[in-house]
Symmetry: C2
Subunit: 241 residues, 2 copies
DNA sequence: TCAAAAGTGTTCGCGCTACACCCATGA
DNA sequence: TCATGGGTGTAGCGCGAACACTTTTGA
């Protein structure tokens, strides 16, 4: 019935993942560039196999791009407007790729399948960026971390999806103690504060931030971290599971 | 390609609506009972036409059951577990309806269509219960308002969907000034307070509740309401749009 | 001894809660 | 004039923000 690459997927439904990472006071998103002429980038995505749940599908997609198995994952919204189809995108490609790349690499049936209208389930994931070795899929030319404020223009409504994901992340961050998943296992209070400041794009008072975090009672204080700098050495912390 | 009743729908995706109403200090949900032997109830739901957005589909489904066009509507979650299919349900029906009702009223193609695994997009709606004249669809035997604590057992995971909807409603109620949509246009402060107490299932202090609501600066105070009771007449209010 | 940055204790103001009081209404 | 329920003012309390002070570190 409905096949793409010989797999039996649910038709007209896709999953798009906003994979957040954090490095050097910047919130980043993992974005592959498609192996087609014309600079097309999109969110890492995929389809849902008949014999897997949507969460399993999202995990499979994430694992393929990040190599990580245990990832913090949250479904945040469905995008189902009319006009969410790859048609204009493929038309552009056909125009740009007259030889044999791109659209030609799809056979006729696959092209029909992929250019229909799609409903997309948005997931966001939080990862320790240092643990990720970004993996190209077979349709990618490259895959890279982009600072969220310097994202390239993405296909369809994918820029909008990122904006929505960030909004949802901000709402959940305080509630669910998920910020730690963006950091390495061991971190200083300053690291944590800078992460929060980056996500909310506003400063926090140092002492109050520390107090608030410690009162959550989820941090183990470890030994001090001697940096060689001429100041008091900060404690290291670890998130208690 | 994919047809049910001659319509071209997206396959394996459904919409389920939790329609909230409020009457006599009770939060209610509109639940149709299916025209099949064996007491099957489900959430009002439907499918997505190829040429409508998911929001439009939800509105169409809501209008069909409530008669109302302008309805407060919120998408709150996607349910996509494995095993979300109507197969066990239809097997039960076949067992119970040996004659010609129920499953037999579907032709073979429709049966195949409807018994596949489904991904369902959950919406909740808030309506003024007095404006609604519940409408049966052709597959319903009846349709009724049920107090949320006395819901019947619904098919598949629909009871779970209702629980999720209520949870989302509670989270949004304070943020988005949507409570008023459950009340008639004109109401007293006591009406509003009782609505909140019902939804959150806990009491609020009368004076503080009043202050909080008035400080939102979204209520127009109208004339007093003389009830004939031997006490001070309460003001009537209207939500300012 | 000093500057830099980390850790901690204290005060201030706001918003929510609780208590108190007054007012209108019909019997 | 009284009971009932509605409207409003004020005091207490807890949390987060702002401020202040101490401690540690290497130059």
């Amino acid at each position: 019935m409905q096949f793409l690459n010989g797999q039996d997927y649910i038709q007209q439904v896709s999953i798009d993942c906003v994979i957040f990472g954090y490095q050097k006071k910047q919130l980043k998103v993992l974005v592959p560039k498609l192996a087609l002429k014309g600079d097309f980038s999109s969110l890492p995505g995929g389809f849902i196999l008949q014999n897997e749940s949507i969460d399993q599908a999202a995990r499979r997609i994430l694992q393929a791009r990040t190599g990580l198995k245990d990832i913090y994952l949250e479904q945040f919204r469905v995008f189902g407007d009319l006009g969410r189809n790859n048609m204009p995108f493929f038309e552009q490609i056909v125009g740009l790729n007259q030889e044999q790349q791109g659209a030609e690499s799809f056979n006729r049936k696959e092209l029909e399948w992929i250019t229909r209208r799609f409903i997309s389930i948005g997931y966001y994931a939080l990862v320790d960026i240092h643990q990720v070795v970004p993996q190209k899929s077979e349709i990618d030319q490259s895959i890279e971390w982009y600072t969220i404020n310097e994202l390239p223009s993405l296909i369809m409504d994918h820029n909008q999806i990122v904006a929505n994901a960030l909004q949802s992340l901000r709402l959940s961050l305080d509630q669910k103690l998920i910020g730690f998943t963006l950091l390495p296992e061991i971190f200083t209070m300053k690291d944590l504060q800078e992460l929060y400041e980056t996500i909310y794009d506003k400063p926090f008072a140092r002492n109050n931030f520390q107090k608030k975090m410690l009162e959550l009672d989820v941090l183990d204080r470890l030994e001090k971290k001697f940096t060689g700098a001429a100041n008091k050495a900060p404690y290291l912390y670890r998130f208690r599971k």
